[in-house]
């Protein structure tokens, strides 16, 4: 019904742009100006720990530092694989030596 579409408000792309920018700009400011340049290394080390218990891909671990108001939030997001891997957790590498 084209007639009714006239009254239906289309989403405004400008506000989409603003919302997307607010997020990316805040994230990049936290990354480059907040001094938290350890995030990639933290991500690698977390991955190494998790890999002892689960087979997991680097792409499935994300680490973010966000600022909301006066406090910083370290957000850790790990997506575990669907099929559970072998039941017994593997011991750390060092224990094998």
């Amino acid at each position: 019904m084209a007639f009714l579409d006239y009254f239906r408000r289309a989403p405004k792309t400008a506000s989409l742009a603003k919302d997307r920018l607010s997020i990316i700009v805040a994230r990049e400011r936290a990354g480059t100006r907040g001094g938290a340049d350890y995030l990639p290394q933290l991500q690698q080390e977390l991955l190494a720990v998790i890999a002892r218990y689960e087979t997991i891909d680097l792409a499935n671990v994300t680490v973010n530092l966000d600022k909301s108001g006066g406090c910083e939030v370290l957000e850790l997001n790990i997506v575990l694989p669907d099929a559970p891997p072998p039941p017994a957790p593997r011991p750390p590498q060092s224990a094998l030596a």
Binding site: K12, A14, S15, A17, R20, L21, V25, T32, R33
Partner: protein, 272 residues
């Protein structure tokens, strides 16, 4: 005299947003007010300021020649034929960006100050690499040229980060570089329809004071076709917008224009 000199970088991060157009117009406008002004093209390898200002056939020596002591500064400076007290220092067309180094650039800027230049306008290349960092390194003030578009706003924010960290003032612990936002290619009609970021949106995102808004206009292309900065033909909206920017920059109060859609009469709509 040298204390009165101001080094102003025109920068943006993103290419094609209007840095060279802005450098040419602002330098011309300031010089028209009787201030001795020079516009330096920092885009080594891709010089264009000479073309936009219509002096491309008078380039003999360039910025890199002077840095390497192959020519004197006076030999490389091109005096504008339309506006007294306006000079252009062209970039090299053949060398690479590594041709610029802080010592050389600093020496030339100091020499320009000694020659009595009141405004030294540095037209930055696109990007955030060495060329762009050289253009901003000695700046006292920065004009951040931004389009109301996502990639441009994001890149401007990155550039603001660089201005706060990778400049002489930042490294020596001097007062922070004064930053100004210049929003270009603005279409009030699209903003009204919710199809373009508004001035208020961009100001909120970037958080720096607004120097002016330049409307999207055919006059910009026509002026670069001719090699005569738009500000010279006061009949166009772009010229009016840049004139406002120049007056505002020099300390006069000017109301912001070209933010709202122009109200057109019935006949204007019919025959416009």
């Amino acid at each position: 005299m040298s204390n009165a000199s101001k080094v102003v970088v025109v920068t943006s991060g993103k290419g094609g947003v209007g840095k060279t157009t802005t450098s040419a117009n602002i330098a011309t406008g300031i010089a028209q007010q009787g201030k001795k002004t020079v516009a330096i093209d920092f885009d080594v390898g891709l010089r264009n300021l000479d073309l936009v200002m219509g002096c491309e056939r008078r380039v003999v020596y360039d910025f890199v020649n002077v840095i390497r002591n192959e020519a004197k500064l006076q030999q490389a400076l091109i005096r504008d034929k339309r506006v007294d007290s306006l000079y252009i220092l062209p970039a090299s067309q053949t060398r690479d960006k590594d041709a610029l180094d802080p010592e050389g650039v600093g020496r030339i800027i100091e020499e320009l100050k000694q020659m009595g230049f009141e405004y030294i306008i540095c037209d930055s290349p696109a990007g955030i690499e060495k060329g762009a960092q050289m253009a901003m390194y000695f700046a006292d003030e920065a004009i951040v040229v931004t389009n109301p578009e996502v990639s441009s706003v994001r890149d401007s924010d990155r550039v603001l980060g660089l201005l706060a960290a990778k400049t002489s003032r930042a490294e020596l612990g001097g007062p922070a570089i004064r930053t100004h936002l210049l929003l270009t290619r603005y279409s009030p009609m699209m903003v009204k329809r919710g199809e373009m970021l508004s001035v208020a949106d961009v100001l909120e995102l970037l958080g720096i004071p607004l120097l002016g808004v330049i409307p999207e206009s055919k006059a910009v292309l026509q002026s670069s076709n001719k090699g005569a900065p738009a500000i010279l033909d006061e009949t166009t909206d772009v010229a009016q917008a840049y004139l406002d920017v120049v007056y505002r920059y020099l300390g006069q109060e000017r109301q912001h224009r070209f933010i709202e859609e122009e109200k057109r009469s019935f006949f204007g709509r019919l025959f416009g």
